[in-house]
C-alpha cells in the first residue's frame, strides 16, 4: 500500500515531531510511506479568509505531488477536510482522485487499515479535544448536537494504548477558538474560547490534551504556556508512537 504523507505547513515548520510520529506509526503498520518533498500547504488559510480564488497555486502543487498514490494521509483533520472539499486543479481528474483518497491519520487507521491492536504505552491521564473540522466535517466522532449513537475513532485507537486514562470533560466537543486566521482577526473571542477549553481540561485533571488536529492543540498550547499550566499537548500519533 503506497501512502503519500501530507504534512500541513505549520506541522512541518513547528511540530516536526508530529509528522515523524505519523510517519513511524504508518510504517510500523506496514505502509510504504512517501513524503513528496515539495509540498507546502492545503490553501485553507487563504480560503477561510475569503480568498479561495488565490489558492490555485497550492491546488496545482497538491494535484501534481499527491496523485498516483493509493492514499494520502495527514495528521490534521482540518487540512484534510479542506482538500476533500475544495481541491480543484487544471488536472481535475488528479484532483478528484486525491479528494477521494485523502484521509485524516486516525480515520485512516480505523477505517482503511482497520487497526485492532497497537503496541503503545502511555501511562497518563488524557483529555480528548474534538477538533471541529475532524469531528463535524470528517465525522471522526459523534457530535453532541445530534440525537445519534456516540462513537470516536481517535478514542477507539487510544483505548488500545497500555496505561492510558481518560478524563471526561464538562463540554465534550466545544470549539477551541483557533479558527485559522480567526485567531488573530477575532483575537479576544478566540483567546477566550481557548482559555475556557483549557480550563475544562484542567478542572478534570488532564495531564495531556490530545486530538487529531495539531492546529487546535497549537492554539491551546499557546494558552497553556502563557498560563504556565502543567498540562501538555500531544497529537494522537505521538501517543500511538509512545513505547
Amino acid at each position: 500500500m503506497r501512502v503519500a504523507l501530507f504534512v500541513p505547513c505549520y506541522v512541518d515548520q513547528f511540530y516536526p515531531q508530529v509528522a515523524i510520529a505519523t510517519l513511524q506509526v504508518l510504517e510500523r503498520l506496514g505502509c510504504e510511506v512517501h513524503y513528496p518533498a515539495r509540498q507546502t500547504c492545503c490553501g485553507q488559510p487563504m480560503a477561510n479568509s475569503g480568498f479561495e480564488h488565490l489558492q490555485h497555486g497550492c491546488n496545482e502543487l497538491i494535484s501534481e505531488l499527491f496523485d498516483g498514490y493509493d492514499y494520502v494521509v495527514g495528521p490534521s483533520g482540518s487540512c484534510v477536510l479542506h482538500i476533500k472539499h475544495h481541491l480543484h486543479a487544471n488536472n481535475e481528474q488528479a484532483a478528484a482522485r486525491i479528494r477521494s483518497r485523502v484521509h485524516e491519520f486516525a480515520e485512516f487507521l480505523t477505517d482503511i487499515l482497520k487497526v485492532e491492536k497497537i503496541e503503545a504505552h502511555f501511562p497518563h491521564k488524557v483529555g480528548m479535544h474534538q477538533s471541529c473540522h475532524g469531528q463535524r466535517g470528517l465525522h471522526l466522532s459523534q457530535m453532541t448536537e445530534l440525537v445519534a449513537e456516540p462513537f470516536s475513532k481517535p478514542e477507539q485507537l487510544l483505548r488500545m494504548v497500555e496505561g492510558i486514562e481518560f478524563s471526561t470533560l464538562d463540554r465534550k466537543d466545544e470549539c477551541c477558538g483557533f479558527g485559522g486566521t480567526f485567531c488573530v482577526f477575532e483575537e479576544s473571542v478566540s483567546a477566550k474560547m481557548g482559555k475556557d477549553r483549557v480550563a475544562d481540561h484542567a478542572r478534570n485533571g488532564v495531564e495531556v490534551i490530545t486530538g487529531a488536529d495539531m492546529s487546535c492543540l497549537m492554539h491551546m498550547e499557546g494558552i497553556l504556556r502563557r498560563q504556565k499550566r502543567n498540562i501538555r499537548v500531544m497529537h494522537i500519533a505521538e501517543i500511538l508512537n509512545s513505547r
Binding site: 505547513c9 513547528f14 507546502t40 479576544s188 481557548g194 498550547e221 499557546g222
Partner: protein, 471 residues
C-alpha cells in the same frame, strides 16, 4: 396620558458602532460577565439537547422540516397566492410590501386610518429587521413591546440581543434597577417573580387601552389562510383579543403548505429554542371577529434575492428558534449586540449581508466555522457552509479589508513556491529563536494572550531529507 407614560421614553439609543471583532473585544473586557453570558446560554443549549433526546425520531423530524421548507421555497409563488386567496376569503386584508420601507408605511397607514397614536406589539423579528419601532416613533406613534424581554430592552433603549431571549444579556439585578426607574418598583428588589408581576401590571394597562395590536407570524398555512403565533407569555393573544384591529407582519418565507405540517414544526420550534416540549401558547388566527379587522402584511425585503441564490436560499428555511445562537461558542462570548443587526448570531451573519454587504461584511467572519450551528438547526440550514461562501462573495466583491487582501496575496504567492516556502519557514523559525521579540510583541494579536510555538531545530522536511530515503 398617565404620569407613568410620560416617564417612559422608549426611544432607542443608537446601536454601538464598529465591527464584530471590536465590539466583541469590548464585551470581553468584563470576563466575569462573559462567563455568565456563556454559561446562561450553554444551559439553554443543554436543555435543548435533553428535549431533543426525548424524541427518538429527532433527526428525521429535522430532515422532514427541511424537506417541507424545500417544497415551500420551490413553490413559493403559488403558495403565496393560495395563502392570499384563502386569507381574503377568511375576511382578512392582505398587503404586500417589497421592502422594509413599504412595510413600515403600510403599518403606519393602517394606524392612521384607525386614528390611533398608541399600539401594542408582541415579538416580531420582522418588525425589528424593518426598524418599525423607530419608524413609528418618528411619526409620533408610541409602540409598547409586550414581550417581557422586549419590554425590558425597550425601556433600556436597546435592541434585542437574541431573537428568542431579547434581554439575555441583562442580569436580574440590573432589571430590578431599570424597573425601579421606570415602573416604580422598590429599589434593590431583584426578585424575578416580583419584577414579572410588576411588568404584568404595567402591561395590563397598555393591553386594556390599545385599539390596535401588532404581532409577528411564526407559521402561515397556505391551504387555510390561517397563521400561528407562538409565545410563552400569551402577550400576542392578550393584545389581539382586546384590540379592534390586528396587524400581523410576516416575511414571505414563513409559509408552510398544510396545517398538518405544524405537527412537525411546532415539535421542533420550542425544543430547539428553549428545550420546552412546546411553546406555551400556539395561537391560530384565521378570521377577524365581528366588527374587527385583521391585516396581514407580507414582506419580501431581500427574500426574493436570497431565493434566487443557490448558495444562500436555504437560509430562508429559518424558523427563528435561536438554537444556533445558544450553541455558537462565538456568540456566547461576544454577545448579541456585537453583531450589529436585528438577527444576531450565526443565522444573522448569513442573512445580514444579503441586505447590505458593505455594512455587514464583517459578520461572516465572526465564526470559527466549527459547524455546531448547522447541527442544531431544526431545518438543517447549512449555516457554517454559507458563512464560508459569504466570505468568498465578500472578498470577490471587494469588501475585504485592504491589509487582509495584501497579506493573503503574499501568503498565496509564498505557498505556491516550494523553495520560497521552505526559506520563509526557516527564517520564521530563526526569528522565533534568536529575535523572538520580532513576533512576540504587542503588535501580534496571537501573542496578546498566547505564547508563540517553540521553534524546533529543524522542519520535518529538513529532518526527512537527512534521516529518510527520499521518495
Amino acid at each position: 396620558m398617565s404620569v407613568e407614560e410620560q416617564m417612559i421614553v422608549p426611544e432607542r439609543k443608537h446601536l454601538p458602532t464598529g465591527e464584530h471583532a471590536q465590539l466583541a473585544e469590548m464585551f470581553n473586557r468584563d470576563e466575569d460577565r462573559v462567563n455568565w453570558h456563556d454559561e446562561t446560554l450553554w444551559w439553554i443549549r443543554q436543555k435543548r439537547d435533553k428535549a431533543a433526546w426525548q424524541i427518538p425520531e429527532w433527526e428525521w423530524l429535522r430532515q422532514t422540516a427541511s424537506g417541507i421548507k424545500d417544497y415551500v421555497l420551490d413553490n413559493l409563488h403559488t403558495l403565496l397566492q393560495q395563502f392570499e386567496a384563502q386569507a381574503i376569503a377568511n375576511g382578512a386584508t392582505v398587503h404586500w410590501a417589497a421592502d422594509a420601507e413599504e412595510h413600515n408605511r403600510i403599518v403606519h397607514s393602517i394606524l392612521q386610518q384607525q386614528g390611533v397614536a398608541r399600539v401594542v406589539k408582541s415579538k416580531s423579528m420582522l418588525t425589528e429587521e424593518c426598524g418599525l419601532n423607530e419608524y413609528l416613533h418618528e411619526h409620533g406613534i408610541d409602540v409598547t413591546d409586550t414581550d417581557l424581554g422586549e419590554r425590558i430592552v425597550q425601556l433600556a433603549g436597546e435592541a434585542p440581543s437574541h431573537i428568542v431571549l431579547p434581554c439575555i444579556h441583562w442580569k436580574k439585578e440590573e432589571i430590578g434597577e431599570l424597573f425601579h426607574k421606570y415602573l416604580g418598583t422598590p429599589e434593590g428588589n431583584a426578585d424575578p417573580q416580583y419584577l414579572t408581576g410588576a411588568a404584568r401590571m404595567h402591561l395590563r394597562e397598555k393591553f386594556l387601552t390599545r385599539k390596535v395590536a401588532i404581532t409577528g407570524v411564526n407559521f402561515a398555512v397556505a391551504e387555510t389562510g390561517e397563521f400561528v403565533v407562538c409565545t410563552n407569555e400569551g402577550n400576542a393573544d392578550m393584545g389581539t383579543h382586546l384590540a379592534d384591529v390586528h396587524i400581523a407582519c410576516m416575511g414571505i418565507e414563513k409559509l408552510i403548505q398544510k396545517r398538518e405540517h405544524l405537527g412537525v414544526f411546532l415539535r421542533l420550534l420550542a425544543r430547539s429554542a428553549t428545550g420546552q416540549p412546546t411553546t406555551t401558547y400556539n395561537s391560530h388566527f384565521r378570521r377577524p371577529g365581528p366588527g374587527q379587522q385583521l391585516h396581514i402584511v407580507l414582506v419580501d425585503n431581500g427574500r426574493s434575492k436570497q431565493l434566487a441564490s443557490d448558495d444562500f436560499r436555504n437560509s430562508l428555511k429559518c424558523i427563528r428558534c435561536g438554537a444556533c445562537m445558544n450553541t455558537c461558542p462565538v456568540y456566547r462570548r461576544s454577545g448579541g449586540h456585537s453583531y450589529h443587526y436585528a438577527i444576531t448570531g450565526p443565522i444573522g451573519a448569513i442573512l445580514a449581508p444579503n441586505l447590505d454587504m458593505k455594512k455587514h461584511a464583517d459578520l461572516p467572519f465572526a465564526s470559527t466555522l466549527c459547524g455546531s450551528c448547522s447541527n442544531v438547526c431544526p431545518v438543517e440550514i447549512d449555516i457554517h457552509d454559507q458563512l464560508y461562501k459569504w466570505r468568498q462573495v465578500l472578498s470577490q466583491e471587494g469588501y475585504a479589508p485592504k491589509a487582509k487582501a495584501v497579506a493573503m496575496r503574499g501568503a498565496a504567492w509564498v505557498l505556491s513556491k516550494p523553495a520560497l516556502y521552505k526559506l520563509g519557514g526557516k527564517v520564521a523559525r530563526l526569528v522565533l529563536k534568536y529575535v523572538p521579540w520580532l513576533a512576540a510583541n504587542g503588535l501580534n494579536p496571537w501573542y496578546k494572550q498566547r505564547e508563540m510555538p517553540a521553534p524546533p531545530r529543524q522542519s520535518f522536511g529538513e529532518w526527512y531529507a537527512k534521516n529518510h530515503k527520499q521518495s
